[in-house]
Structures are given as C-alpha cells and as structure tokens.
Symmetry: C2
Subunit: 358 residues, 2 copies
C-alpha cells in the first residue's frame, strides 16, 4: 500500500513563497468555526419545529433523539475561505460573518439533498439525515437552509451583499448541474463517460462553491469583479486539485489515515477521475479495467483493478492534473493578491485542503 505523501508533496507550493509551516490553517479554521457558529446556530434556531430538528441533527448539534450533542459540522473550510479572502484584500472579516454563514448553509443544503439522491447513509461519521428523518424531511430541511442562506444576505446591510447573493445563487445552479451530471454518470456504462465531462462535473460539484466562497470574500472586501473572479478561479482550481487527490486517496489511501478500507472506491465501482482517465486511455490496462468494472467481483479483482488503473496511467494523470490545477490556483491567487504576505492565509487553506486525507 502506498502512502499519499508523494501526491501531496507534488502539489504543495514551493517553499519560501508559502505561509510558515505548522498549524496556521488549523488555526484559521478553528477561528472561522468560532466566528461563524453563533450566526449559523441562530439561523438554524429560527427554523420552525421539525425542520429545526433535522438541521440541528445534520449540523451535529443534536442527536437523533433530540438530545444536545457537541457538534460535528465539518471543518468550516468555506466560511474560512470567505473570512480569509476578506482579510487578504484588506477588508474587515467581522463584517463578513453573515456572508460566511450563508456560504456554509448553502453547502449544508446541498449535502442534505445529495445524500437523499445518492442514497448515502453516512455523513461526518453519522447516519445521514434522510435515514433518520425520511426523505421528505431531509429535502425540506435542505430547501429551508438554501432560503436561510439567501435571507442572511438579503438582510445584510453590507454594500456587497446583493452581489454576493447573486454569486451564491449562480453557484447553486452550478452545484445542481454538477450533481445532476454525477447522478447520470453513475448510471452510464464505463466506456460512455468522457474525461472532460468528469472534470467539468468535479469542478462544478467541488470547485464552484470553494471558488464562490473566495469571490464573496473579495466582494465583501470591496474588490471589483475582476479580483473576485480571480479568487473564484483560485478556489475553483484548488477544489479540483483536492478532488483529484481525494480520488487518488480513495484508491491507494492508507486505511489508517482515511478510515476507509483500501481500494474503497474500486469496491464501489466509483467512476472517480483516475478510473475514468484509465478507462479513456486506450491502453490494454484500460480495457482490462473496463472488463473488471463490468463483471461480478471475484477474489483479487480489487487489486487487479488498482494495478490496471495504475498501468493505464490513471494515477500519474491524476497526480499531474492535481499539480497543474494547484499551479493554476496559485496563479489566480497571485493575480488577486499580489503581496505573498497577504496571500498567506488563503495559500495555507488551499494546502490544507489538498493535503487532507480524510
């Protein structure tokens, strides 16, 4: 089994231009969580009856039986990107807490709905909301979170709020489009899925909201559309790099670090990016992989698949793509925030995201 250090080393920014090593990203994330949680909690508490229960459960603030819990509402990467982008462009992050909460509510709305559609049963190490409360309650709670997100921005007197709301709404359409393509891809035969489609889908599903978070930060710092677009590109490309690395980890990741069995994505016959690259390679290994994906699993098949993806160049392609996307992300970052000192926080978050193994 291969550790993923090599992957992440490839996409790490060159030393000397980045932030100091250590826990900076973790500090930024913890600070964002502290700042945004009261706003999030207030929004969720404003929901009526049963939708509040579903949302409190989803955020990890309540157990399924309604008793309080410590909270496990993810890593606050998106709110942290909003606040850190504001700071990088010389704005006051305290004025953007509502916007940061709106981005996080939007993320959670899509998680609630995606889990219903994908029939995923586990999220943040707990049973998904629809498995506990049923499809209807999970769909309605998601709908309500999207509405709460837009309400936070509509009621925010900040001069950037309307532009941020428009960007967030456009991003939701893109997230939905990405999820829609993802649903159809899983139903299609291996040979019918093109690599470009998969990359576009991953960008829409994973990159779009990370990019939007950064762009909203720029808007709240008073920056113009060009800077906001550049920061959108930064978050978007870093998000795609993350997805590529996550897909590599989904096949070759260390079970001790990922908490998943080895070759987990292959066992699920997931059409992840390295797999689709291998299938589209036109190599004998690619053809072998297609045959393995099409037949009922036999002993040793998962190892054979992993070898086939690697032999067809799927792993190398994903690692090179990840490095390329990270490099594009850094170019966009330099365009939006030329001063490396000021860009340090965003860089630390991008590195954190692409280095994560969970």
């Amino acid at each position: 089994m291969t550790d993923t250090t090599d992957v992440t080393d490839r996409v790490r920014a060159p030393r000397g231009h980045g932030p100091p090593e250590g826990c900076e990203a973790a500090d930024i994330l913890a600070a964002a969580r502290r700042r945004v949680d009261p706003e999030l909690r207030r929004a969720v508490d404003s929901l009526p009856g049963s939708m509040r229960r579903v949302a409190l459960y989803h955020f990890g603030w309540e157990r399924a039986d309604g008793t309080p819990a410590a909270g496990s509402a993810g890593k606050a990467i998106r709110p942290a990107l909003v606040l850190t982008a504001v700071r990088a462009l010389g704005g006051d992050p305290r004025a953007a807490v509502r916007a940061a909460a709106a981005v996080e509510l939007t993320h959670d709305f899509t998680l609630l709905h995606d889990d219903v559609m994908d029939r995923d049963t586990t999220r943040r190490h707990r049973p998904t909301a629809w498995t506990v409360f049923g499809d209807a309650d999970a769909i309605l709670a998601g709908d309500a979170l999207q509405a709460l997100a837009q309400r936070l921005l509509a009621e925010d007197p900040h001069p950037g709020a309307a532009v941020a709301a428009a960007r967030l709404a456009a991003c939701v359409v893109e997230l939905c489009a990405g999820q829609q393509v993802d649903c159809t891809l899983e139903r299609r035969a291996p040979g019918e899925v093109s690599l470009d489609e998969c990359l576009a889908m991953a960008e829409a599903k994973t990159g779009a909201l990370l990019g939007c978070a950064c762009a909203i930060g720029a808007v709240y710092a008073g920056a113009g559309a060009e800077t906001a677009d550049a920061l959108d590109g930064f978050g978007r490309q870093a998000g795609l790099a993350f997805q590529l690395i996550d897909d590599v980890i989904g096949i070759w990741g260390d079970p001790v670090r990922t908490g998943k069995p080895v070759w987990a994505d292959l066992a699920a016959r997931k059409k992840s990016l390295p797999v689709v690259a291998a299938l589209a390679s036109g190599t004998p290994d690619g053809a072998a992989l297609a045959a393995l994906y099409g037949r009922r699993a036999e002993a040793g098949d998962l190892e054979r698949m992993a070898h086939a993806v690697e032999g067809a160049g799927g792993r190398d392609w994903a690692q090179t793509q990840a490095a390329d996307r990270m490099s594009r992300a850094l170019q966009e970052l330099a365009r939006a925030v030329p001063d490396p000192e000021r860009a340090g926080g965003l860089l630390a978050l991008a590195e954190y995201v692409t280095r994560r193994t969970h």
Copy 2:
C-alpha cells in the same frame, strides 16, 4: 350533488364595494402572464442542460421528448398579485416584473418538490416532472428554480429588491414548514389531527406565498412595512378562504366543472379541512366518519362519509370559515389600500381565486 355557487356567493364581497363584474380578473391574469413569461423563460433558458429540460417540461413549454409545447404554466395568480399590488399602491408595475417572476419561480420550485414528496403523478393535467425525469432531476430542478428566484432579486437594481428577497426567503421557510406538517398529518390517525394544526398548515402552504406576493408588490411600490404586512394579511386570508372552498369542492364539487370524480377527496381519505372539522366535532356523525375513514371501503361508503361530514357540521364550518377569512382579507386590503377604486384589481383577483372550481 350540490353545485358550489352557494359557497362562493357567501364569500363574495358585497356589491358596490367590488370591481365591476365580468372578466377583469381574467384580463389581469392574462396581462400578468404576458409580462412575466419572457422573464421566466429567460431565467429557465439560463439553466444548464438537463435542469433546463426538466424546467421547460414543468412549465409546459416542452413535452417530455423535448419538442416545443404551447405552455400550461398555470394561471399566473402570484405574479398578477405582485403587479396588481404595485399598481394599487401607485407604483409602476413594469419595474416589478422581475420580482413577479421570482415569486412564480419560487411557487414552481415548491410544486416540483411537493410532487416528489407526495408522489403526486399529475400536475396541470400532465404527468409530474419526477414521473418523467426521476426524483433526482426533479429535486435538482426545484433547487435551481429557488436559486434563480433569489438571483433575479439579487440582480434587480430596484431599491426594494433586498427587502423583497428577505420576505421571499422567509416565506420559503414557511412553505416548507407547511409541507412538512402536511406530510406528517397524512400519516397520523384521524383522531390525532387537530383543526388548529390543519388551519395553520393550510395558511402556511396556501396563504403564505399569496400573501408574500402582495407584500412584495407593496415593497416595490415603495410602501412601508406596515402596508406590506397588511397586504400580506390580505393575500394570506384570501388564500385560506380559497383552500377552504377548494376543500368543500373536493367533496361536493360538480365533476363536470372540477374534472374530478364526486367525493374525490373522500376516496383518497384526504384529511381536508371540512373532514378534520367533522372528526373534531365530538358528534355521532364525527365518530361515524372516523370509523368509515379507518376501515376498508365498502359500497356506498363515500356517500356515507359525505353525509357524515355534513351531519357533523364540517361543511357549514368550512363555509363559515371561508366567509370569515374573506372578510378578514377585505379588512386588511382596506387597511393597505383605503381607496376602493385602487383596491379593485386586488379584490377582483381574490374573488377570482375563491370562485375557481378547478
């Protein structure tokens, strides 16, 4: 079988205070449809790929196979309320077309999702979107329509746009709460459902968005919160009157006019308002109805149920409630628009809504 003329006569406003009889409401609705359709169509056309197809189908602009259709996107009551409220308060309806489209998109988002949750197979005389495209596509198209609605308002330079967006988002939460209660009510035993709960649910599901449409019109006319709240109350109470009358028609309506078999709601064991009133009446007829609702249908049961609802006072209660709600609606209207001449269009729409038999 009883015609519904008596019901609607009771809730019609006294002559002399209303608009001239005739086709005024139909004219207002047709004009609203003409004004809002291009904006709606532009919004839907901006959707990517498959979500556009689902939305075009839902609005009746395309058939399931993607060929063009004439459109059957409902009666545009909500956009008409927005534009008519603007005019009633001396504003320019042309400046509120985007807001009117946003309200209609919100309505359609909830229809798409409600049909998935309720497993309803027919909408506007056509198969519902989820039966044609599947649950995931219908959920995603609904999500995207909610986002488009908020995007229209966020990009609208009108000074009332942010207040309207906040009202619309709050209304979505109320619509979701109403639908959530509705889903649970259908699962509960007849005796466990209180009349107050049902009325609150009907107000949230049917009244809230009609009220919000009127309130947004007030905001776009530059009116203050008090006037907007009064017009919200007008639309909300008229919506509840409509629901009560619709429920009466669902039991005793003329099949020729409603297009539904007689006693349709009883055959479906629907917990409509007259039924719940009868069940909660404490009368022998109420107890008989509960027994009939609980057992497998025998020949003649539907007629027995209809008699029991009537004998328990459910029909009278619904008609009195409808008249009472319509009277409250007119009080709110007079508060917001004291000049009867100016209030005429809104009154005509409220009468049209509560007189409809389809």
